[in-house]
Subunit: 324 residues, 2 copies
């Protein structure tokens, strides 16, 4: 296969060629220099899709929810892109059997595009690549893009937050040790979902979340958006329609109030920071390559300390390559 | 309370003053500039303690193992430091009741020092701070330092790897969705532990791990260290003594073969990279502070793209402040 220039892939993707879209995403993920002008152009053209970030701890049922949500969005005619930044997601090859079957059904639908991203790339690079992937799907004509991330790890949580609507999925009965991780992600939700609501113990989870939100609201005067808690059951189908209404409601609020512009600015600031960090570290790693090993060896023998060695590495690097 | 200079805290910590050690760790975590010379000096003095990194997914029982291991190390007279970089750990305030009780017992023992680290600080900063904390405890006279991290998230896994001996804890019956996350961390183990071996389904987990290791060994000629799989039960106490033997065995191998020097170089290279990255990003954030918002605003309106904006931010920053 000859190398198709990224600008040409962009033209093809913009006409709905999903193979071209997939190849562009691979280049974004690999950080291919040649793809940058195309990805830059894609960013400028993007912005039409509604991007929904979904996060929750492993076992919260978010992958099943992604499948359900995709099905209802499809039934009203929307094309749906799925970006899975979650090693436990069936969309990334992890899996529980039921989801894998559902995923296979989705994957057979030409109006659905599923893409999983590795979570062990360069620091900062994951967020940059995932957000580039969202833009590619946006430009390729997907009206909704779902970004699924595992709710553990700072980057993962921030990616879910860098969307138009962030959904945090909780589940009853996961055990304290897992729930504790969740504490840090609750506050990023525009919509809370409690999955597995066919279970008896789901009510406690619903009540806990609602109480937490009531306390939060008391501290705020007239919020533009009241964070709802939606109970769903992927088994009975309960709550999926309500969730869709809430998503539409949030989208309408973003459009009709200053919340939309605020959100766009916050996401852009995050994206600028992540992209700059990734570029800076990349440039640094390239320039530091040959300089680092002798410093590391001295450090291993405790003939220097991490701060002095790092300082020296940075100074040498800036002198040699920082202004390339 | 007046500000005690970090160099003075270092002198106190080196005499075994745990309050001083704790204050130094807080300064390392907060990235206090004034503490850097003291932390640098601490690094040069450290290296005596045996550092054990423990990792595993939430629910794998690693916190319970930390408690058990601490008890046996204490019973042979060692002072034990615990650094918990894990939001789900009872040592960080997350908790299951049994562990909380065990932790309270440990905390009452003056030969045990427990410190939890936030996992949501600046990128790269967490690894730097956690490794500084280990050195502080080393210099304060702890013969063994246990570093517990949750086995999800790149930084967390790398911290567990940046130790003398890395233990990966698996548990039977966690469910596929959680196990899938684990796949990426299995290869970092010097010792595998399967917890909850009083359960019937533990045998399958033990067998699976052993098979995986056998396959790995076939590809390697004469490894200096054969990774063992140890089944333990915190309930019956089974396997804890064997685990301790294995840890001692690994330590002896590090000392008597080239594995030790290799390991020290690898850890030093990681530490240099993480410290340099953290310093670089810190310096960049300080210099970029006022320059970023207007670029982010243009980016929000899609009047530029993340790559051009980031490039411009980096160029401006290097011009203004990069050579400070």
């Amino acid at each position: 296969m000859s190398y198709v220039p990224s600008m040409q892939l962009l033209a093809q993707a913009a006409e709905g060629n999903l193979r071209a879209a997939g190849r562009l995403i691979s280049r974004a993920e690999a950080g291919v220099d040649e793809a940058r002008p195309a990805l830059a152009e894609i960013y400028r053209r993007a912005g039409a899709a509604h991007v929904i970030g979904l996060t929750g701890v492993p076992g919260s049922g978010k992958s099943t929810l992604v499948a359900k949500l995709t099905a209802v969005l499809r039934s009203r005619g929307e094309k749906v892109g799925i970006v899975a930044v979650d090693p436990s997601s069936p969309y990334s090859g992890g899996a529980i059997l039921g989801d894998r079957i559902r995923m296979t059904e989705l994957a057979a639908d030409p109006g659905v595009f599923i893409r999983s991203m590795a979570t062990r790339g360069a620091t900062g690079g994951m967020a940059r690549a995932a957000l580039d992937a969202v833009d590619v799907l946006d430009v390729a004509g997907f009206q909704t893009v779902l970004v699924e991330t595992v709710g553990v790890g700072q980057d993962e949580v921030e990616i879910a937050k860098a969307s138009d609507t962030t959904i945090v999925v909780s589940a009853p009965g996961l055990g304290d040790e897992i729930q504790a991780i969740k504490a840090g992600i609750l506050e990023i939700a525009d919509i809370h979902v409690v999955s597995k609501c066919d279970r008896d113990d789901a009510n406690r989870t619903l009540t806990d979340l609602k109480q937490m939100l009531t306390l939060g609201t008391l501290l705020q005067s007239k919020p533009l958006w009241q964070v709802p808690v939606v109970g769903i059951s992927s088994y009975t189908g309960e709550g999926i329609d309500e969730l869709l209404e809430r998503i539409d409601g949030h989208r309408a609020t973003l459009r009709s109030t200053e919340l939309g512009a605020q959100r766009r600015r916050r996401v852009a600031a995050f994206r600028l920071a992540k992209t700059a960090e990734a570029m800076l570290l990349e440039r640094f790693a390239a320039a530091a390559g040959a300089l680092a090993p002798p410093l590391a060896d001295r450090l291993a023998e405790r003939g220097t300390d991490p701060y002095s060695a790092a300082q020296s590495l940075i100074e040498q690097t800036l002198r040699n390559g920082g202004r390339r």
